[in-house]
């Protein structure tokens, strides 16, 4: 008799109870997969006593996954157009039509992601007092992309809210990068510290990680209550 392969929810609960990393991989990240990720995130957050943050943190995970999928699609598009993503001129040329063409031929590009083995990988891990979620994709970020993310982190440190940042640095926020800024403001406003988000390039992958420790959010809530009392 062959051993039965555990079902997804068995794997989810095993990972939660034994603090193991649960990995799920997709190429297309369509709405149905997004709903699935929501439910899994919900289970991990519930185990960490953070279920009230589910919708907000799901939003952050979706932003990261959306960015990861876009980065993969960008590589695929540039490859098809024979453009070098690392060349400044080619990059500018490619980005002129990237959004329009990939939107117009979405089925072709979604199939292309799968055929070319381009993936978005989710890793969930229950921590002692929280949850860690990593979103990995197999496109190494260009130095300019890492720089842009660092700039966004700088913007969030400088401003207190998105509206303020947007009205003062409108040009720099339009298009790519607004998602990161929004996500960072959300994390900040939920009471997570600056180390809740990290981004790095590792072994042919881009890795974005959310380290969500319940204590910090709870402490901030307590601080706010004390301050307003």
């Amino acid at each position: 008799m062959t051993a039965r392969k555990p079902g997804l929810w068995e794997s989810v609960y095993y990972a939660i109870v034994h603090s193991r990393t649960l990995t799920l991989t997709t190429s297309t990240y369509l709405p149905a997969e997004r709903a699935h990720i929501d439910r899994i995130l919900g289970a991990f957050l519930e185990a960490a006593g953070m279920e009230q943050l589910r919708n907000n943190l799901a939003y952050c995970v979706h932003e990261l996954a959306g960015n990861a999928k876009k980065a993969n699609m960008k590589r695929l598009y540039f490859r098809e157009k024979n453009l070098d993503i690392l060349s400044r001129d080619d990059y500018a040329l490619g980005m002129e039509r990237f959004k329009t063409e990939t939107t117009e031929q979405i089925s072709h590009y979604l199939a292309g992601l799968k055929q070319n083995g381009l993936y978005v990988k989710f890793q969930f891990r229950k921590l002692k007092k929280g949850v860690r979620v990593s979103v990995r994709n197999n496109s190494v970020p260009a130095p300019a992309e890492i720089r842009r993310i660092e700039e966004k982190i700088g913007i969030v440190r400088q401003y207190t809210c998105l509206a303020d940042a947007y009205s003062r640095t409108q040009d720099g926020l339009e298009g790519a990068g607004l998602g990161i800024v929004m996500m960072l403001f959300m994390l900040k406003n939920l009471g997570f510290g600056p180390d809740a988000f990290s981004f790095r390039a590792a072994d042919n992958e881009s890795v974005a990680t959310l380290t969500l420790v319940a204590r910090r959010a709870a402490e901030t809530e307590e601080e706010e209550r004390t301050a307003t009392a």
Partner: protein, 126 residues
């Protein structure tokens, strides 16, 4: 995403349904740009049937707000679903974006504003 446009007096009401994301958010700006040349004083975006909005969607609303303010046109966002409202609250966009509870309230507010402007204009000429 599905976009439907209606007109009421000098206001253009844009009904948006479904998901607003990276791959379709630009259509919001395209819709407004194509109508702006008509004799329109205000744009009201009804988000009642929006099921999901990502940062590109929020970015499009921010860009529309700037664009319409620059062109001296009124802009209102109405019937924001709770999930979208939560995103706006957490990014502290409530108060920055012109949100109204219902379409009726937005239209009423715009009418009153128009009446006030007309009254002050007639007082100036008197």
């Amino acid at each position: 995403m599905d976009i439907k446009v209606r007109f009421f007096k000098e206001s253009c009401i844009v009904d948006v349904a479904g998901e607003i994301d990276l791959y379709n958010a630009f259509r919001l700006e395209d819709t407004v740009s194509s109508i702006m040349e008509k004799k329109i004083c205000a744009f009201i975006f009804n988000l009642k049937r929006v099921t999901y909005i990502d940062s590109s969607g929020i970015g499009a609303l921010l860009a529309l707000n700037s664009m319409l303010v620059k062109n001296a046109l009124a802009f209102r966002i109405v019937s924001v679903p709770p999930s979208v409202m939560k995103v706006m609250e957490l990014t502290r966009l409530v108060g920055f974006l012109p949100l109204e509870r219902t379409e009726l309230e937005a239209l009423d507010g715009l009418e009153r504003r128009k009446g006030k402007t007309a009254r002050s204009d007639s007082q100036r000429t008197a």
